[in-house]
């Protein structure tokens, strides 16, 4: 009796039987979506391992991180993998977004999937920030204080939202527990369901966007097995690189968080929010911390609706679709410049 049958395996069901060759070309997709999914899988798997030791209480949180890092077998590597794969997924997801814009992948009928993808990116950023907070060291504590206080500046609903977020009138045990629950369960659920939806929608929209065929050109396909092969090879390389980085570039843990000690170290936001931190230096919190990120988000969400021109999809840097490309380039340059200036301060 055969227990496992290839044609009945789940991973088969998750892949189309055959994939148009032109849409699966590495020079076209750069493998960024796949890399992001792989990074999410690594993050979730290592996160599961971290829950075995992590304790989400103010008295124990930092100590348990130190325990994971210094004592648990392969703890530093697993924590490193969790951290570095999380950074990788933010990077590959952002580059994936850029790839979509520069090849016109957002075009009808894929507008909705563009918005889902954008939602997933926001999820990833919040996921990242909540994870940073769980370290409960000096830096994380002050970042949490700054981050949550921003919510308070929202007119009318600010205080209510703050209390919903923090679960108290100030940062403490309730906030840590909430951030832990959101990080480990809530956002994981949202993220995984979101990815599934994103991929399902991708198939419903006709697969990866690809060039129109010239007259008389025969469509060619690659098989599901060929796709698996490529995926496994890529996963092996990315996974190995992540392990090597985790081994040789340790992830920091600061001193235990203590509000009594005052700000002893320089408070620095996680790198993905450095640009917000820089804006906060010069602008009122509401504008820098709430309005500016919303403006960026709305601008990106508007991309499919800025460009409703005809054919020519699935080519890199098509000149007739200059508007979204320029918008993304401006946004990206602005965020990168602000972040670099913050680092150089």
């Amino acid at each position: 009796m055969r227990v496992w049958r290839r044609e009945k395996s789940l991973i088969y069901a998750l892949h189309p039987q055959r994939i148009p060759e032109s849409g699966a070309r590495i020079t076209y997709t750069l493998g960024l979506g796949g890399a992001t999914v792989f990074a999410v899988l690594v993050t979730v798997a290592t996160g599961l391992a971290l829950t075995l030791y992590y304790v989400p209480t103010p008295g124990e949180a930092h100590a348990s991180v130190v325990l994971i890092n210094d004592v648990a077998s392969f703890g530093a590597t697993i924590r490193g993998l969790h951290y570095w794969s999380a950074q990788l997924l933010v990077i590959t997801a952002s580059l994936h977004l850029a790839r979509i814009v520069f090849t016109g992948g957002y075009r009808p009928p894929r507008e909705l999937n563009w918005l889902i993808g954008l939602g997933l990116l926001v999820t990833a950023l919040v996921w990242d920030f909540t994870g940073y907070v769980l370290r409960w060291d000096d830096g994380a504590y002050w970042a949490l204080l700054v981050g949550t206080n921003l919510v308070r500046d929202i007119p009318v609903w600010g205080e209510t939202l703050y209390r919903m977020l923090v679960g108290d009138v100030q940062i403490g045990a309730n906030a840590l527990l909430r951030f832990y629950a959101w990080h480990a369960f809530g956002l994981t659920l949202v993220g995984i369901l979101g990815i599934v939806y994103h991929l399902w929608r991708l198939r419903k929209d006709g697969g990866v966007s690809r060039p129109h065929l010239h007259n008389g050109e025969r469509r060619s396909f690659i098989s599901r097995d060929e796709l698996f092969f490529r995926e496994f090879i890529a996963a092996a390389f990315i996974g190995s690189a992540l392990i090597l980085i985790s081994v040789f570039v340790p992830v920091p843990v600061g001193d235990a968080a203590s509000i009594d000690a005052g700000v002893t170290t320089e408070v620095r936001a996680p790198w993905i929010f450095l640009w917000v931190q820089h804006l906060l230096r010069t602008s009122p919190p509401l504008w820098a911390g709430i309005v500016a990120p919303l403006v960026v988000l709305v601008a990106l969400a508007a991309i499919p609706f800025l460009d409703r021109r005809g054919p020519g999809r699935a080519t890199w840097f098509a000149r007739e679709r200059w508007k979204p490309q320029l918008l993304l380039a401006v946004v990206a340059c602005a965020l990168i410049t602000l972040s670099i200036r913050e680092v150089l301060l």
């Binding site: 210094d70 004592v71 077998s73 496994f232 090879i233 092996a236 190995s240 690189a241 090597l244 081994v247």
Partner: protein, 464 residues
Amino acid sequence: MTKSLWILMAGSAVLLATAAMVWSQENQPWRTWPTRYNAQPNVTPVPVKIRTLVPTQTGKPELCITCHVGIEDISPSHRAEAIGCVVCHGGDPLALDADRAHSSTRGKRNPSDLSVAAVSCGTQNCHGGYADEEQNHVDRVLKSLQATYAGAIAMVRYAFGAQNSPLAQFGVHAVEDTAKQPPAGALAALEELPSTAILHIIDPEFQQNCITGGCHLWSLSTPQPYYYRSSGCAACHYLYNDDGLYQGNDPTIPRDQPGHGAQHRLTTAIPFTQCNHCHNRGNYSLKQMTFMPRDDLPPVAAPPSPHEPPEVRRLSEYYQPIAEFAKCEYELECVDCHTAREVMGDGHIYGSKKDVQYVQCRTCHGTPTTSPRVATIQDANELAVRQARINGHADFLATGDSVVETDRDELLWSVKQIAPNRFVQIQKVTGQVYEVPQVMGSKCAQDGETQTSDYCHQCHFVTR
């Protein structure tokens, strides 16, 4: 490229990464220390593994002894298995990374440094926070002359005309006596001698030569042979050898690098050599405002002969060329006469050594007409009995014994009455017991009422 080549390359990458992961697990930096411990001669080898200590008093695991394997228990009163390391030293109990483990330690290597002693040694129910002032040792020491340096500051500044009275106004740091009625001779408060504002032309030089790195408990000494010592409580209670070398088994403390205590150990059995890291080391030149170290000591590399009786070294180390002293003043250890209250203070602020040193010859020897004052031990837990116990001589005293009581009502636990007008003393360092000769009934013709210890030296002096 063929598929098998891709598989070969991907497989190699995975293999390499896995090997790196295992390598880093097997080469964590902490593994160095138990390995080095095992390499020492005369130790029982320990397995190279993470070692956990769960102190009974805190119940929180500490991994410090993973690296500090073989470190000595600090004292029988501070057993590591009871209180652990972190209660005193601070630091991160679960970190095995040296930097992280030590980034939050108190007072660097010395948690009894006076800048942190109040929160390490002097916490509630340790050596502070008691209703009985006598037990708040850290509070007392902070106000004591050895920490304030008030007398020396006052005398030097007065001599140079920087203040118009020899009365102490300044200390190394500001202190205040909150008692409603300080005893006669005590001061209400001392201001901190400003380190930036110049009150008088001598102050900057005085600051630099005598206060920063000066002869008081806030500072460390000159890092050189004979002078090596710690600061704060450990300046006296943590013994240093003259060469400043560590002789214990902790592999993390370099044994060839001077500047470490002889062992990781606190004691109240303090030998004269420890006092001598500061005292008897030379003289001050007021004119040059500098310390003139003595040059007549043998080099540390050539220690005193083991055949030499200790009192011979003691005599040669006593460094006041014109001083007169009696035999007991160099045969006994310094701590046999200079009591805890004299050395660590009585909780009040004084401005002169004269107000602090009060134990006299007659305190133990009596006068031609009177026996020493005595008091009876009432309770098996009173201060004198506790002091005997901590010193390691609990069996010397029992409830009902009579011990000598000083003019300031301090009980000298080490001098007890065995018969009318007969007393014995136990040496705090060696544990040797001998009889204390009494003046009453001897040929001494001193007038006990008006003559102080100086007069005793007229007859009982020793020549070198």
